[in-house]
Symmetry: C2
Subunit: 478 residues, 2 copies
Amino acid sequence: MTPPQRNSEDRTVAALLAPDIVALLDESPAHIAAETEEMHPADLADVAELLDRDKLQAFLAALGPARAADVLEYLDEELRTEFLEAITPRQAAELVSQMTPDDRADTLEEISEEHAEEILSEIPTEARQETEKLLAYEPDTAGGLMTTEFVSVSADMTIEDALENVRAVARSGRREAMHVIYTTDTQGRVVGVMSLRELLAAPSGAKISDVAWTEVVSVAPSADREEVARVIANYDLVAVPVVSESGHVMGVITVDDVIDAIQEEQTEDVQKFGGMEALDEPYMQIGLAAMIKKRAGWLSVLLISEMLTTTAMQHFSGELELVKALPLFVPLVMSSGGNSGSQATSLITRAMALREVDLKDWWRVAARELPSGLMLGAILGVIGMCRIASWQWMYDHKVWLGYNYNPHWQLIALTVGLSLVGIVTFGSLAGSMLPFLLRRLWFDPASASAPFVATLVDVTGLSIYFVVALLVLHGTLL
Amino acid sequence: MTPPQRNSEDRTVAALLAPDIVALLDESPAHIAAETEEMHPADLADVAELLDRDKLQAFLAALGPARAADVLEYLDEELRTEFLEAITPRQAAELVSQMTPDDRADTLEEISEEHAEEILSEIPTEARQETEKLLAYEPDTAGGLMTTEFVSVSADMTIEDALENVRAVARSGRREAMHVIYTTDTQGRVVGVMSLRELLAAPSGAKISDVAWTEVVSVAPSADREEVARVIANYDLVAVPVVSESGHVMGVITVDDVIDAIQEEQTEDVQKFGGMEALDEPYMQIGLAAMIKKRAGWLSVLLISEMLTTTAMQHFSGELELVKALPLFVPLVMSSGGNSGSQATSLITRAMALREVDLKDWWRVAARELPSGLMLGAILGVIGMCRIASWQWMYDHKVWLGYNYNPHWQLIALTVGLSLVGIVTFGSLAGSMLPFLLRRLWFDPASASAPFVATLVDVTGLSIYFVVALLVLHGTLL
């Protein structure tokens, strides 16, 4: 089957192909494997997702176990789990045995423990033990991300022998992470690294140890995925070895798994910044009850904290009654604090995630946020004062929209203007310092969400507003 | 120089090495190249960043042009620009000539146009033309990300000839993206792709066309970097070819450049979500004035929009004066709308970025957000009513903190509770629909920032609160 012209909307390609596949399934299923052999498994997975559930099993069966395992790796997580739980453990074992060890472990992690154990018991002993070892690591750590298939050669081999070795492994059909080759000493400890390309470029007759780089960038099995991503990105690697304390390579993490990890991490960070627990599942797939649970917690905490604004309002209720214009600007000044805080927090949490700023840089950040906040507050203060002056002018000149802030509208304007300076400065400082505080207390700085900061700043902002009002209006209106 | 034990804090490694390097520079600069030859250029760049500016040039000179170019590629952008502008155009040209074409173009793009042209004029003709071609592409597109060095072989070659070819290229020292090899027809159009590993595994005597995959996943030169990242991530590639309309490979984008692009894109999205223009520079490096400018715009727009809350408050000022308890809960109900909106927006913008939801899914999302919003609003409403009931109870029983919402505290509680249901529902719906609306209008959905949503919801939320109050309190307090 000639693949149609590729374009960015893969779903369209899949949608075009799905009817042909259905027709083939009915007429001559034996031809499916040959007709689709040049297609990328990611595209076949898109096709598979469009098929009816009863056709899906026939389709994967027609592809044969190795190819079906490739397609399963790219299939939507929920559909893959459903499929593997629906077929017999023996059939499922045949499929997952064909996967790379890391994908096999990831796949089994997703399905129910009972099913996973039944499937594991049908897998050949060696592969089963390997999988069980990988399943023992936390999925978000280097150990949980790595595959145990990789190529290593002894450092004292000649280039020719090593190349023969590598060709033999490549031909064996096992699907190692083969862009990079590790060299080991006689105790099996890693002593060097070279790319397949460097092996090819090496002069005939040389020894591996003459060519390999002795500086091996590696990660510990317990390193978390953010750390792995940082190492891969920092050194521009296509794979990073996971090395034990004794210096042995335990596995290799390839860049494609790191990209997936970066994207998951970023999704978590964005959702936390939005003020909720990370969903851990695609938006359209998570159950409504589960989603409400993840959202209700933070919303309730924020509501309860925000009740302090009511307490503040109650405290100043006398002033609010005396000066009728005072309550009118409460939402305005409050929200400006939240907005400036949200800016500062997003800047600093991101800079922390990228390691542009570190815990010890807090005072440098404060030294930037203080003048920024004052300047931004001054800009907003002037705008706020202009608003009051122009509405008052419109009222005095009987223009539509005008409003009377008298007596002493100038003092009301001054109160709003000065409050904005104070609140925006406080918002910028509080918003930028909160991630530092959270990290110092060993929380995730990404938990410093926009709503969290806004709530923090709201309560203080209100107090700033009332105190400024007391000072400015003292002796006239209050 | 034996590299110290590697760990996650590369800065520490660099800090340990920097004094040794300084000592060597003073004593025997000729040995620097040999002593550091096993070190990764990323680590040498960390060292270079710690040196005094006058030592930096001596250090790079001691490394020799090829190695110095490697180090420059990993150097902090600002420092690299400063360095290249400080040395003579001829010296700079010698260095950038050693870079891969994509890094050379990126480097020249950063420095002032005048300097860049002087340096370009000193580069050999072929490399200059190549660089000028790359500079013509927008930096955020596939054309701007690609390198023009890659390996392609004719589809009718034998495996042995192709391997010899590849080895010759590898030995030539040019630094192609060599994990993947493209095969071309007699007109030079791309017809297949294979990994270096597949080339090695191929049986002797076979032809390239027997082994290569005929389905080539590629991108157009005008594709934006998000699209490139999606293709690389979707197909688990280490490189993707940039193919012209006529079917020729124009260049290759390697996965390391895509990771950088993903991270930059993510930084932009986070900063936009925080309610500001993307900084485009690291937080600690951007000038204070430039940063204030990027933040002031949105803050001012938000302030001006938020002035509608003042208008709403003015409109209902009669009711506010009549019912003293009414203003007390304005901050509370307003912020709850903003918080629920911020959650919904972060969920949907991220799901859009990952292509989990598409423009046409808007009604599916609305159908999820409506019940979620009602449920979340009900939860918050109950909490809010409990707050009022318990403060009233405390007042009646003369407990500290109590407050008197009488007459008719039950109606005040009902007003707050019902308003929260309405406002949270509206917040969830508005927050989730805003990214769709922005995308429909061809804006970036990531511009739907938390402050933007909060402002949108604040004004409506206030109106909901006042209308509910009018309905509930009609005939008693109003």
